[in-house]
Structures are given as structure tokens and as C-alpha cells.
Amino acid sequence: MKLQPTNRLRAIAVGAAVVSGALVLTACGSDDNTGGSNGESSPKAASNIACDGEGNLLASGSSAQKNAMDIWVKNYQAACEGVEINYKPTGSGAGIQEFLQGKTGFAGSDSALKEDEVEQSKQVCEGGQGINLPMVGGPVAVGYNLSGVDDLTLDAETIAKIFDSKITKWDDPAIKKLNPDADLPSTKIQAFHRSDESGTTDNFTEYLHAAAPDAWKYEPAKAWAGEGGQSADGSSGVATNVKNNDGAIGYFELSYATGNGIPTVKLDTGAPEPVEATVENATKAIAAGKVVGEGNDLAMELDYATKAEGAYPIVLVTYEIVCDKGNNKESLGLTKSFLTYTASEEGQSALADAGYAPIPDEIIAKVRTTIDSLS
């Protein structure tokens, strides 16, 4: 008789502990999501954002710019009442697909529209066509995990050979030559690439192809083509595996490196000093590229082989894709006002906190003019 109540009490105590523990944990979780930029941005934001339109704006596409969108949407919605912007990070392919079906106001994409997609867009954009607006830049970092080494410089050719299983040991002469001071162990290199198709892989292989054409003979593509190595799902998968395996190296957006505390490779681009993967250096490299789109289209061609001082050449530029003419009338006002904000100085400077690179001044100025002319 005496045993039962105490048992029950104990059970209740355990249950209470579990429940309160769970509550504490979830509370922490939601704090992390809303914290950070909330305090500094919303009061400031209210003054500069020009609200227009109301209701819902649907958009979808690139997951590479998801974190940027989250910040922008939060700031915009805080400033403009009665507006809801819903950006689904479905991936560039799906984003373009939905845009071409007329389901969304704009699409986010890691790569510019292809010719046949521009043709298709003419059916959705009455009297106009889909155009690319560069909006977010991002350095793709090459992260590594090598005990005893926290400063590593590589050049494009060495990186290409590492990822193509031509260099398999960390104390390879090619790596030693670039890092005379480092104490390189003879650990086997475990190179990690993406198992899913992605714009990150596309840009990374573009860089290898442009900067080391002899060592990287594959055509740049969203799907990985190199030989050997291991693969993992998504940037987070690659980053997790690099973090957990000694001797590993992999590529992912800079924010995953800073978030996981993974050291990144400095690039020997031919510039006087090896270039570190930072937001500022990425912006310098984007500035070295040029706009190749015609008319209102601002699709860019990046100069991956740039030797400019302090320019980090492995960069990803993601676009917002809209119609230049013939946008959906109901969402036009909202689309224009939201994109005006994202392209504004304020919108661009909010990017750096999340590990993204702002688009260089000259190009973003063109983006602003184009957004003004949308109809």
C-alpha cells in the first residue's frame, strides 16, 4: 500500500521533469529563430521601407538564399501591416517551374533562366518576359578538418586534383609547396561533395573549370561529375561530415562554415596575398564579373579566374526572377515594393550578418532602376 503512492509520485515527478525539459528546449529553439536581427532592424526598418499593396505574395525557389529571405521578409512585414510574404525554399528548379506556371510572384534561382525557359515565360508575362535580377551573393567556402592545421592555402589546381582523387594524402608535395610552414600529417584526404543536384556544386565546378581547366576536365554542372570521394545530402550534410571526419574537405556556403566552426581554405588566386573566404572578398569578386543579360535582364557572368586583390572567386549569385512586363496585377505593387526594399542599401547591408555578400554598388544600382520599371 505504501509503495504505490510513492511510485506514482515518482512517475509524476519524472513526467513533470520531462515536460518542463521539453518546454525549456522548445523555448530555446524559438528564441534562436526570432532572435538576432529582430531588435536592431524593426524600428529602423519602419522608416525606410515604402509599403505598397496588401495581401499575400507567394514566391519560391533557391534554398541558398533562404536565410536572406527570412531576414528580409521579417523586416518587411514588420514595417508593412497586413502583408504576408511567403517564400518557400523549394530549390531553384522547382521555383522556376512554379514561376513559369504563374503560381508565384517571383522565383529565386541560383542560375539565370535558360533560353527555352525565357520562351516559356512569355506565356506568363503578357507582353514581356522573365528577367533575372541579381540580389544575393554568397561565398562558397572550402572547409576542411585536419588536426594540427588551422591555416591552409590551396590553389584551384590543387583543389581540383583533391576533389578528383588525384591527390589523396594531406602531405602531398603540391599541398606542401603551398603551405611551407604548416605541419601536414600523412592523413588520407576524404573529399566530400553534394549528392543532390545544386547551384553550389554548379558554381564550385564553374570555378574549378575556369581557374584550373587542365586539372578539372569535366563540364560545370549541378550534378557532381568528379571521380571518387564521398557525398552527402545538402550543404548541411557536407558540413556535418567534414566536421566529423579527420582529414575531410568539402565545399558549402560560408554560413555553414561559420555556424559549425569549420576552418576554411585560403585561395591562392594569383593575387599578391592568398584570399580568405569572407563576405567582403566575395563582393569584390562579384564586382569583377559583368552583366551579360540583354535589355532589362541583368543575368551575370562571373569571372571565376579573377586575380584581383582580395577577390574571393568561388561565389554564388542568386537571382530573383520576375516578369519585366505583364506581372500579375494583384501582386505587382507588393512585388515591386518588396524587391525595392531588398535591393535598397538597407536590405543589402542586412545580408552580411547572415553570411551573404551584398551585390556590388554598380550592379545593384541597375537592379534598382529595373525594379522601378517593372509593370
Binding site: G93, S195, E197, Q230, N241, N244
Partner: protein, 333 residues
């Protein structure tokens, strides 16, 4: 055993032909008619849904196959978004089947052991709580298994892999180069854990229903508990265990997120189960769908159709096996 329900269900008329087959055919009360209509409707709905899925998959598959430059069955490549598209399912089919077989080999004996322990050996209280714990495994989302696999299981398997390589490396199947153990074998281990609850749960229910009379008779004749299980419980439960295994196999074949998180997929078939390489249908669809274009999507759907067919074949085979062993079982009669 069979007579009791039939007798109570037929009120006045007793049709002479096939009494157990269609008692619903002679429904004349309104309740019976409504129930008959409802159940018939549900059955037909299910068939229509399945047919619609099959038609959709076949149609999109044909679209994709018309564009394919490679051989759909033998090409070791998946470049469905390239121009021209080249893709084949050989690696995916191999990876899916091999990882599922590994999972079955590891999981079924353990699951049957758990089921027997719970139903015939354990003290009642322990049996109940043990049953709950095993069933709880089924409630864990697959992405959690994936994370657990990637962060805990994979780093701890290196030792086992090296051991297997040292003693069984000569077979070729168990040779292991180096690198993180993120191979089909690891996926098999993970899938085994994931299908354990469903196999053990169903087997346990079947074992519990084994005829008490037979068990008691065997005990009365002086059989030990193991002999009772061997003579009365296992033969009775065999078809149930097979059905349970097939349910588990179905889950293993279709598992997506856990595989995508743990495996290091690669479009080549590696003779060694411990080295990187391979992929599964579901994992490939999850990895490729986000960035797929029109043809790429149809190609993934085509691979989905193959998985659909494989699952159908597995279920068909299971039905055949069960039908052949019907005489043992009261549950499937």
C-alpha cells in the same frame, strides 16, 4: 472454429453453395445493405486510386523514356537534367535491394526472438513494457534515425568494418578501403533497426494466438518450453512472420530520409558492401527532385515506377509463400 461466425450471420436462408465465401451476398436487412455498399465502395475506391497512380506513373515514365539517351535498365549514370538526358536505374535497383536484404537478414531473427521472448518467456510485466519500448522505435521519425546514424552509428562502425575487412576481406564482399563507413552495409544496419518494431510487433501478435490446446498438449506429453515453441508456436506463426517480414521489407525498400542522411551515394556498383557507392530509389528521388527540370522529374517518376513494381513483386511473392503454407494458419484462412 470457422462455424460459429457463419452460423450467427445467416438469419433464415442458408445458401448451400460457398457459405463462408459470400455471406454478404444474401443481405436483405437495411443495415447489411448499407454496410455492403460502404465496404464495396471502399474496396473499389482503393482499386481506382491504385490504378490512377499506376496510370500516372506509366504515362510520365513513357515521356521520360522517350527522351532517354542511355539504357534505362543498364546505364550507370543519372544525368536526367543534362541535354540530352542520360539515366539508368541499375545502381538504384541494386542498392535498394541489397540494403533491404541486409536489413532483413539482420532484423528478422532478432525480431522473432523479441516476439518469442515477449509472448512466451518474459514475466508479464516485463513483457508489456518491453513491447512498448520496441513499439516506440516505430514512432521515431526517420530523419531522427538518419541523424543518429550519421552522428553516432557511422563514427562507431569503423572498428567493425576494419574487423570484417581483416577476417572476411578475402570474400570481396567485406573488403574495406578507408574513409567514413557510409556504405550500403551501414544503411542496412540502420534499416534493420527501423523495421524491427513492425516485424516484432506483428510476429508477437501471431505467436500470442498460437493454439493453447496444442501447446498444453505438447507440455502434457513432456515437451520442454523450447520444444513447444518449435512444434506448436513456430509452425503456426510461420506465415504471420513472413507477412510481418514483408511489411518490414516494404518499409525498408521505401525508406528515404534516413538513407539520404547516412549513405554516401555514388553511381557505381561496388562489389564490396563496405565501400562507398550505390544509392536507392527513394534516396535518389529525394536528392534529385529539388533541382530537377521537366525531364529530370519524369525520369525520377520513372524510377519511382520501378520501385512500385518491385514492391508489388515482393508482396506477390509473399502472398504466394503464405498461400502455400495456409494449412498451418488459422489467421489467414
Amino acid at each position: 472454429m470457422d462455424i460459429a461466425p457463419t452460423a450467427s450471420a445467416t438469419p433464415t436462408k442458408s445458401p448451400p453453395g460457398g457459405p463462408a465465401e459470400k455471406p454478404g451476398g444474401s443481405a436483405n436487412r437495411p443495415g447489411d445493405r448499407i454496410f455492403l455498399g460502404l465496404s464495396k465502395g471502399s474496396g473499389i475506391t482503393l482499386l481506382v486510386i491504385m490504378a490512377a497512380i499506376a496510370v500516372f506513373l506509366t504515362w510520365r515514365t513513357l515521356v521520360a523514356l522517350a527522351e532517354n539517351e542511355g539504357n534505362f535498365l543498364t546505364t550507370f549514370e543519372w544525368n536526367a537534367n543534362a541535354d540530352p538526358p542520360v539515366f539508368g536505374i541499375a545502381v538504384l535497383a541494386y542498392g535498394t535491394i541489397v540494403s533491404s536484404i541486409i536489413a532483413m537478414v539482420l532484423a528478422v531473427p532478432v525480431a522473432v526472438g523479441i516476439a518469442l521472448f515477449i509472448s512466451h518467456y518474459a514475466p508479464r510485466r516485463l513483457a508489456a513494457s518491453l513491447g512498448y519500448v520496441v513499439d516506440l522505435l516505430a514512432a521515431v521519425p526517420s530523419i531522427i534515425y538518419g541523424l543518429w546514424g550519421a552522428l553516432f552509428l557511422v563514427p562507431h562502425l569503423t572498428g567493425l568494418y576494419e574487423w570484417l575487412d581483416q577476417f572476411f576481406g578475402w570474400t570481396g564482399i567485406f573488403s574495406y578501403d578507408s574513409g567514413a563507413p557510409r556504405s550500403l552495409f551501414t544503411v542496412g544496419i540502420l534499416l534493420a533497426i527501423m523495421i524491427l518494431p513492425i516485424v516484432s510487433n506483428v510476429s508477437r501478435e501471431v505467436f500470442k494466438q498460437s493454439p493453447k490446446m496444442q501447446e498444453e498438449a505438447a507440455l502434457a506429453l513432456g515437451a520442454t518450453r523450447w520444444e513447444v515453441i518449435k512444434m506448436a508456436v513456430l509452425p503456426f506463426g510461420r506465415s504471420g512472420v513472413i507477412s510481418a517480414s514483408m511489411l518490414g521489407l516494404g518499409r525498408a525498400l521505401g525508406e528515404t530520409m534516413a538513407v539520404a542522411t547516412v549513405l554516401s551515394p555514388n553511381f557505381l556498383i561496388n562489389a564490396s558492401l563496405l565501400n562507398h557507392g550505390g544509392g536507392t530509389f527513394a534516396q535518389n528521388i529525394a536528392a534529385g527532385f529539388k533541382e530537377a527540370g521537366d525531364i529530370g522529374r519524369d525520369a525520377l517518376i520513372a524510377s519511382g515506377l520501378v520501385l512500385f513494381v518491385i514492391t508489388l513483386l515482393v508482396n506477390g511473392a509473399a502472398r504466394l509463400i503464405i498461400a502455400r503454407r495456409k494449412e498451418y494458419s488459422g489467421a489467414n484462412a
